[in-house]
Every structure is written in C-alpha cells, then in structure tokens.
Amino acid sequence: MEFRPEELLADQIAHLIGGVHHVAVGNASPIPATAALLARERGRGRPYVSLLGSPKNTFWTDGARELFDCAGQGRIDAFFLSGGQIDGHGNVNLVEIGAHDHPKVRFPGSFGSAYLYYVVPKVILFRTEHSRRTLVPQVDYISAPGASDANVFRPGGPVALITNRCLFSFANGRFTLQSVHPGHTVEEVIEHTGFDFDRPAHVPETPAPSAEALKLMRETVAPQLAELYPQFAAQIFGIKPQEALTP
C-alpha cells in the first residue's frame, strides 16, 4: 500500500509513544499530533491525548498553565520537541543562529522546552529537514539541554530523534541510528548529519505503516486533525475545510 512520508513518520512516532497514559503535543507539531491521535484510536481512548491549542483535544480547565503543572506533577509521559538546530548531545535550539548579540536568524522562541525537556520522561525529537544545517555538532543557543549535571532534578529527556531520512535512539548522551526510511541509505544519513552517532553493523529499514494504520490515519485521525492543523490535514490527507470537525 502506498503511503506518504508523513504517514511513515507518524506511524513510527505512534510506536515510540507506546503504551503510556498521557501524551501531550505542543505547538506546530502536526506529525506528532497525527501519531498521538493514531495511538489513541488504537488504544480505544488511551493514552489521554492533549493537543496544545485544540479545545476539542484537551481536557484542561485550569488555563494554559495546567499543561506545565501537569508535567511537573509527573502526569505527562510523552512530549515532542523540534528545533532549528539539534546537536549530537541532544541539545535543542529554538531561538537563533549566530552569536547571541547579533544573530543571523531568529526562530520563534523556546516555548515550553526549557522546562518540559527536563520533566517529561519520554521526549521524542522530530525534524523533517534532515541536513547538516539542522543536525549540527553544537547548537548556537541551548533552549533546552539534552542532559544535565547529576544534581539537577531531571526525570525527563530525549529518547529518540525522527527525521525525514531515519530514526535515531538517544541514550547516555549519544544518538544511535536505529533504522533508515525506505528510499534512503545509511551513507546518505552520514553525509547529511552534522554530528557523530553510533550505528549497528546492519541498519534495518524503517517498516512501512500497516494497512490498518493507514486506514485509521486517513479515515479517523485526519478529520480530527483538521480542527487544529487545517493546512496539514488538507495537504497530506485531502481533508477539505468544510469536512473538518468544528468545535
């Protein structure tokens, strides 16, 4: 069955989410949102899914701070972060390129990363542009560090990085190549990655999404997604705006 790259990524992220109790998705994260809703469909209502900015897909009643308080209580098990730059130590940069007093590029800002990266146990990094521009040896600005000193309270941190080319796992301060997506190669991943990473002698191909996963994404998840990500739902799943479920 043919599938889009976004569907492969969402399917893989759904596997990474696994059997957790509560997964939250931050701003500007349509692929993780697809994955979280797919996981919820498969789990018949579990995990709880919180999509930031979606009145339909959040249960918050205590305002915008509830997400962060909930995470601080240890009640958010999985979250997603991206970055203008991500480096080999798992540091993410959502702020700027260049020197701090005269940056060359400005990104939106750190959002909740400088907190959530520390307190959510399973943070899945995603970046759909896998290049030496985005995956760098050292970020120019640390919005949130991949690891902390032993005395810093840190139950959370990165577990994986998924890109348009491959999937890495993260442990002990380093990335390890887990699989390469169909149509891509290990050599290509090496060529386009700015940081060192570990890899096994044989790197498997990322498995294609099952027919069941694709059907769920296209028929059940996509219309729910259109409330928060109308452009993404239209481009990837062909959901017309009038078909979107309105709040």
Binding site: N27, A28, P30, G53, P55, W60, T61, D62, G63, A64, R65, E66, F68, D69, G72, L94, V95, E96, H100, H102, P103, K104, V105, R106, F107, P108, G109, S110, F111, G112, S113, A114, Y115, L116, Y117, Y118, V119, Y141, I142, S143, A144, P145, S148, D149, N151, V152, F153, Y229, P230, Q231, F232, P241, T246, P247
Partner: protein, 272 residues
C-alpha cells in the same frame, strides 16, 4: 458605576506609553480590535508580556513600532509561518527581547497573584534561556540536599488586556476555561476587557456560569467589540480566519507589504 465604556478608545485609556502590558496567547482571546486601536493611537515603548506566547498581535505591535521590550516564550504565526516583523526587529535589534519559557511566565504572574516576590521553577538549569536572564537566580533549595532550583521574580503588569465572549453590566466577565485570563487580571494593576456581547443579568448569579467568570471586582474597563478577536479565534465561539492570516504572513514578509497591511486593515485608509 459601570465599567462598560462608551467607546473602545475610552476603555483603553489606562494603557499609556511605556507601560507593562500583559496579553494572552494566540488562542485564548486576543483583543485584536483593541490592538488595532492602540496602533492607531500611536502607543509607544510598551513592555509587552505575552502569556506565554503570541502570534499576530505581537507581530503587529512590533512592526508598528509600539514595543520597546518583549517578554515571551515564542512569537510565531503557527501554520502560517514565522512572525516576520518580530524576527526582523530582533535581527535589527530594535526591540529588547526577554526570552522566557512558557511555565516561567505563568509562574512569575502567579507570584504576583499570590503577593509573593518570586516563584521557584524546575527545568531551565543549563539552558541559555537562563544564561541570558540576569533577573533570574539559581539557589540551592533550602528544603533539599544539593538541589539547585531557579527563582523567578514576580511579574507585575500595569495593565492586563484580553478579549472574552461576554460581560455583564456589573463588570463580571465570562472567561470560561481560559483561566490564565484570571491570573493576568489578578496580577495586573488594571484590567481592560473587550467582549463580543453584553450578557443580560448577572453572571455570578448562575452557578454554571459563575465558575467561568472573572468577577467585576478585578475589572476596570470593558468595551463591546463584536468579533473583537478577529482574525484570531475566540475559544468555543469562532475559529481563526486562516485566509486572512495567510494574507498577513505574505504581506508582512516585507516592510512595504507590512505598511500596506496597516493601511488596509488597521488605519483602514481607502484607496483614492
């Protein structure tokens, strides 16, 4: 004496040049009619606190030259791309940026809400967000053993400004689930609200509505601005105007385009 002002400009009187103004995130009831009115008035040197992020509102105010200091966690147009005037102002160094992280802004306003000088927060240690905030401190927790934790000074805004679905003649404002609007009002010296409509009767007399109501005690001025969040959404009432936001993103990509946007949608100058 009713808080309901005769005109929008009357209601906005307490927002003066140089004041610290706190506004809500892009999906919580952003007072866009009021924002356009402030730009028309030529407000200057705002210390804008966006709780905890912003989109069109901060970008417009920055582009129109109204902002001296911006304190927030991110400014972006979301699906419609980066916030062009914000990014341009940072690169040109025409605004002072106080980068934060979302829960830090919530916590620092909660400190003021509670009348305490600071609030502790987890995370942050080892980040450049903390490194570049000389107003934030790290202490060893007095209740722990070698447990460093960040302290954030209370944020005390002069004015909180937001848009909500309805208010009543007693000045009570229905904010529903957007509880950060109550935190903003509790923390600010003055609170100004624009609303889509006036609710007949008293919001506090109906228990179901009272739970989502900000009491008029905290509210200084109210103005009626129907669909006053446009083109941003009003939660549970109307969605964002995506076509307009896409048009903004395109026009605001250049300074000339942004000026044309202001003429068309803020100053409402008609072509001769």
């Amino acid at each position: 004496m009713s808080q309901i002002a005769a005109t929008l400009d009357d209601a906005l009187g307490a927002i003066t040049d140089g004041c610290m103004l706190v506004v809500p995130r892009e999906v919580s009831g952003v007072p866009m009619d009021a924002t356009r009115a402030l730009i028309r008035r030529g407000i200057r040197r705002l210390h804008l606190v966006a709780l905890p992020t912003s989109s069109l509102q901060a970008d417009l105010l920055i582009g129109a030259g109204c902002v001296e200091t911006l304190e927030t966690s991110a400014v972006s147009l979301g699906e419609y791309g980066p916030a062009p005037r914000f990014a341009a102002a940072i690169l040109a160094r025409t605004i002072k940026m106080k980068d934060a992280t979302c829960p830090a802004l919530h916590a620092a306003l909660q400190a003021t809400e509670k009348g305490v000088p600071f609030m502790p927060l987890r995370g942050l240690i080892g980040s450049d967000v903390l490194k570049y905030r000389d107003d934030w401190k790290v202490i060893d927790s007095p209740f722990g053993d070698n447990d460093p934790i960040v302290l954030l000074p209370a944020i005390k805004p002069d004015v909180a400004l937001f848009h909500a679905a309805m208010a009543d003649v007693h000045g009570n404002v229905w904010i529903g689930r957007q509880r950060e609007l109550a935190t903003m009002a509790h923390a600010a010296a003055k609170t100004i609200v624009t609303v889509d409509r006036i609710h007949p009767g008293n919001l506090l007399e109906t228990p179901v509505l009272a739970a989502g109501t900000l009491p008029g005690f905290y509210v200084d001025a109210i103005a009626l601005t129907e669909r006053g969040a446009w083109p941003l959404p009003l939660p549970d009432y109307y969605a964002a105007d995506g076509a307009h936001l896409a048009e903004y993103a395109k026009m605001a990509a250049t300074e000339e385009g942004f000026a044309a946007y202001l003429d068309k949608f803020v100053y409402e100058k008609q072509a001769a």
